[in-house]
């Protein structure tokens, strides 16, 4: 099986079911946007896919390999990298150290250096701030740093949790353009969790709409954007 295949996937927090029998598929090289309002279970879904929390039922595979019962640090080594919600950087470390963290475990140090250069090319702002503490970065710069660190691991499947959270519209556009570039240039498969439905669907190939833990609709971004019922109910415009 190619790509990411999720079927009958369920996650529960104790007795409460957070994700209920969700199934979808993302082909290699595709960008999938997971859309839904607050509390729809988007973050929970992503956390279960990257091994931070256990799934209670169902299966999830990448390239035919199961993602379940595995630790995040092992999945990273297989190219499945999760950038968690809320500018996932370590504020106590500087920019250089935050980036280095993404490649500590890699044996091929030459390629780590090459990947770091590519990150600086993509986000020149990070090079300018290289010795600054991550604490002093703006929200957009932190998001760049978090994505940059993920890229140093040479991901194949990138799981991004609300990269637009708390950013100004102009910065959101920059970040989304960068994500789109990355995917086109590196052939990455991206799963993008977003509340910001419009911006996400604009760059996504497919969309998956969640509502209180259930899959409401999925399909090509265009078909979702054209469906007037979905638009008014879930896409918010």
């Amino acid at each position: 099986m190619n790509g990411l295949v999720v079927s009958d996937f369920s996650v529960s927090h104790g007795a409460i079911s957070a994700i209920n029998k969700v199934s979808f598929q993302v082909e290699k090289g595709q960008l999938a946007a997971i859309i839904g309002s607050n509390g729809a279970g988007k973050t929970t879904l992503l956390r279960a896919l990257s091994g931070l929390i256990p799934a209670s039922d169902g299966t999830a595979t990448w390239s035919g390999q199961s993602l379940l019962e595995r630790k995040p640090e092992d999945l990273v080594r297989d190219g499945i990298v999760h950038v968690s919600e809320g500018k996932s950087v370590i504020p106590e470390l500087n920019v250089k150290e935050n980036l280095a963290l993404g490649g500590i475990w890699r044996k091929d140090k030459k390629d780590v250096a090459a990947a770091t250069d590519e990150v600086f090319e993509l986000f020149p702002r990070l090079r300018e701030r290289i010795n600054q503490s991550a604490d002093t970065l703006s929200g957009g710069e932190r998001q760049m740093l978090a994505i940059g660190r993920a890229l140093i691991a040479r991901p194949k499947l990138l799981l991004l949790d609300e990269p637009s959270l708390g950013l100004a519209p102009l910065v959101i556009e920059q970040i989304f353009t960068a994500i789109n570039q990355l995917r086109l240039r590196l052939g990455l498969t991206v799963v993008l969790v977003e509340q910001n439905a419009m911006s996400a669907l604009k760059i996504a190939d497919i969309g998956i709409i969640l509502n209180v833990g259930h899959l409401v609709a999925s399909g090509t971004s265009q078909s979702l954007l054209n469906d007037s019922n979905l638009r008014s109910a879930y896409l918010g415009y």
């Binding site: 640090e73 470390l93 963290l101």
Partner: protein, 298 residues
């Protein structure tokens, strides 16, 4: 001269407090556990050193054994006891307190173990260095060659730690995992393993403290108890989160202690540490180098 003398005494005891504080801070940073077992671990490693010395009759040879022993004991405690315990008590009110209580249990366990093996009598773990103070002119200062080696030894440990933390990948992983364990895991750091290494470093620091200070007194299963208290106070003074703070806190406490003993009297020995603690907490509740923000949730 009296002020200088007092400063010297304070420096030597402060160096030991700093080492103990370092040990406590290293564990606290990565696990949010105050490791009361640290006193027991240091006792156990010092007895190891004592054993090696009674075989080899060489203090200097016994020190590395004590250090490696201390590191291994600490790594074992984390990997075999603390980590499984935390995995089991992750939820509810008990999750906060269970690990701390466990360290008290381990302390008791180690103490009875050492009592069973070596007895509760005082034994001598002696250094070839003189415990008599240096002479300056006709004046004997209360600072002996052993005190000097205490200060130098503590300094070496601190420099090594500083170099590791600042300039190596291991140090970066240690810092990252203690600040933000979840983000570190997502970056590919094996946080559990790194944490155990952090415990081993702490155990080594405690072992150095035990091996250096014991020749100035004696060794028994509870001879380092007061050191645990002082180390803890020093760590809190330094902000609990900061390695540099631990060192400064230790020195501050050592010097403060020495002056109180010199000018107030020995009757306040035990309360002095707490008086200093209260004063620091009232003036700077976060400690002198405590961080402003709480750690991200694991």
């Amino acid at each position: 001269m009296l002020i200088l003398d007092t400063l010297f005494i304070g420096l030597s005891s402060g160096a030991i407090y700093s080492l103990m504080a370092l040990a406590l801070v290293l564990v606290w940073r990565s696990t949010r556990v105050v490791n009361f077992a640290q006193a027991g671990q240091a006792i156990l490693s010092t007895y190891l050193g004592y054993e090696v010395m009674s075989k080899t009759h060489n203090y200097w040879v016994s020190i590395p054994f004590a250090i490696i022993g201390g590191a291994l004991i600490a790594a074992f405690i984390d990997a075999a006891l603390m980590r499984p315990l935390e995995k089991r008590s992750r939820q509810g009110a008990v999750s906060q307190i269970a690990p701390v209580i466990a360290t008290l249990g381990i302390l008791g366990l180690i103490r009875s173990l050492t009592g069973m093996i070596w007895g509760n009598a005082y034994v001598q773990y002696t250094s070839p260095l003189s415990g008599k103070g240096y002479m300056i002119g006709h004046h004997t200062i209360p600072f002996s060659p052993q005190n000097l080696i205490i200060v130098i030894g503590a300094l070496i440990v601190m420099v090594i730690f500083a170099l590791i933390f600042k300039f190596t990948n291991l140090g970066l992983a240690l810092r990252a995992s203690s600040f933000q364990p979840e983000i570190s895991r997502l970056a590919g750091i094996r946080v559990d393993r790194i944490r155990t290494i952090g415990w081993a470093f702490a155990g080594a620091a405690g072992a150095v403290a035990g091996a250096l200070v014991t020749p100035t007194t004696y060794l028994s299963p509870n001879s380092l108890d007061l050191l645990l208290v002082s180390g803890f106070v020093a760590a809190v003074i330094g902000g609990l989160d900061s390695l540099i703070g631990a060192v400064l806190g230790g020195l501050l406490l050592g010097v403060g202690f020495a002056f109180i003993l010199q000018y107030v009297g020995t009757s306040v020995t035990f309360s002095a540490a707490f008086i200093i603690l209260m004063v620091v907490l009232f003036i700077r509740p976060r400690g002198i180098l405590g961080s402003r923000v709480g750690r991200g949730d694991a």
